[in-house]
């Protein structure tokens, strides 16, 4: 069961991926599996407080991803 996902990168992850966003055909069925897959490809760091958003809302790492979902990994924020 493969799905097409849209991934947008920010901060340190954008620098490592070398792209702002990309579309991906993947077998990853959860954000956790997806991060694992991308980590290997891009040698992502694993920041202590990594969060994830699916379709522009904070999400669980075990949420089931659907075809067409957008995913954003959120390293520790530092606004203000």
């Amino acid at each position: 069961a493969r799905r097409k996902l849209r991934i947008e990168y920010f901060a340190i992850l954008r620098e490592r991926a070398g792209v702002d966003c990309e579309e991906l055909d993947t077998e990853a069925s959860t954000p956790a599996e997806l991060f694992e897959e991308l980590s290997q490809r891009y040698a992502f760091p694993v920041p202590g407080q990594l969060k994830v958003a699916v379709n522009d809302e904070f999400s669980d790492w075990q949420t089931l991803l659907a075809d067409g979902d957008s995913v954003v990994f959120i390293p520790p924020v530092a606004g203000g």
């Binding site: 947008e8 901060a11 760091p45 694993v46 920041p47 958003a53």
Partner: protein, 155 residues
């Protein structure tokens, strides 16, 4: 009004203030975050803010609404810069009007504290020694240090 906005343009507080006026309010508290010339002992030359805009605005608006509910403040606005900022530039502005000053101060403080912790905005500092780093990201810094070490070994 309870609102959170992002801006790629310089922030002009005198424009925001007018939106928060309320004849039933006696107290108005603001907070401005300015780009400092140093952080944790390192000299900072400039800053870069990146935001995950749709979720930053959503979460920011939730924070501002929570502040009004918690403290009974009347109107609140928070505007955060994105892009490249020079030393002294205004990075974030918070303003809250309330019937009395207790609520105005408390709501203003709540908003800036929560924004710093919850809103998906990232800050990259550029230092005078030529290095740069994403603030609050220890793992990133460590790897950056490692990559500096390995590149110097390779050199």
């Amino acid at each position: 009004m309870n609102l959170f906005k992002l801006s790629a343009e310089s922030l002009r507080p005198e424009n925001f203030r007018e939106h928060l006026r309320d004849p039933a309010c006696g107290g108005f508290s603001t907070f401005e975050g300015w780009v400092r010339n140093q952080n944790e002992g390192r000299e900072v030359m400039e800053l870069e803010y990146q935001a995950y805009e749709p979720l930053a605005v959503k979460e920011g608006c939730r924070i501002v609404a929570e502040a009004s509910q918690r403290y009974g403040s009347s109107k609140a606005l928070c505007v955060h810069r994105v892009g490249d900022l020079a030393i002294g530039e205004l990075a974030v502005w918070v303003g809250v009007s309330a019937p009395h000053r207790d609520a105005a101060f408390a709501a203003c403080r709540f908003i800036i504290d929560e924004v710093k912790h919850r809103v998906p905005i990232w800050k990259k500092e550029h230092y005078s020694d030529g290095n740069s780093g994403w603030v609050n990201c220890e793992a990133c810094a460590e790897q950056a240090a490692n990559s500096r070490v390995s590149s110097s070994r390779r050199a």
